[in-house]
Symmetry: C2
Amino acid sequence: MPSHLARRFHQICLGATAEVLEPAGLTPGEFGLLAAVQDLPDLEQRGLARALGIDAVTAGHMIDRLEAAGLLQRRVDPSDRRARLLSATAQGAVLRERLRPAALEAQERIMAALTSEERHTFLDLLTRIVETNQSYARPGNGRRHPRRSRAPGKE
Amino acid sequence: MPSHLARRFHQICLGATAEVLEPAGLTPGEFGLLAAVQDLPDLEQRGLARALGIDAVTAGHMIDRLEAAGLLQRRVDPSDRRARLLSATAQGAVLRERLRPAALEAQERIMAALTSEERHTFLDLLTRIVETNQSYARPGNGRRHPRRSRAPGKE
DNA sequence: TATTGTTATACTCTATAACTATA
DNA sequence: TATAGTTATAGAGTATAACAATA
């Protein structure tokens, strides 16, 4: 039961934010990543992915799209030339600020059924649930790939 | 902020249930559909999809897989031969009962941080949020496809 | 050897569009 | 005309595996 409610709740949040982000051509995930890059600047990709609870490959793809759109940029970390430090461009910062009010309004619409005290309680409880289950950073709807070891030659 | 929490919460629920469902070869979505078919028997595909908040195409694909696995079956509705009525097979019913305790335990583990009173409050508030936002049955992470009208001949 | 990021591949879930069979 | 279901196609998000560059 909670699982189904979790899915619907997420679905509702996605739908409501996708709606207001659509004119700007951003998905909710992309907007979240852009916002995170501004709030936690000069983080490398893996650190950002960890902070958002997404895997490094997905983060890489999202960053590709945001970089191509001119909203953020990668910079080689001078102290570890494998890592890429992320920062929003001026354009990205402006867009984020422009979209922020509508995104907040969308969230408030979703919570409109609750009094402000209930909202506070709800977010507090939800935060505790999420924080005590950090180990499930691994999402993944998909069936696990059965690792069919296709190392060439080794067979 | 609620949006991010919603995503993590859903992610946690998926991870926890996927874990216990994995040995049976079911995804959380498939298990949810199988359970729904048992709880709402002889519903047509579209009605079931609506009840679950998923679209009819996805439901069709999931049903394909569950039918191929011998867990449920389609039956042509005699009163409307377009519709397919769904029901679990004996095998599907047994599997659902077998998996149910582990699935419930997984959910309880997730809520372990809350007292039973807090759990009740949380689920009540979450239920109200979901119920007052039924209109967002349309999930969709994806960017809307820009309908590039490829009707043949009409160009 | 281990880690950061990338590329290739695969799969779920979602979507739109076009189709078939029915109503 | 409209609806139930299917098939084809596409994109987001996730995953694993293998690789190059760097540590």
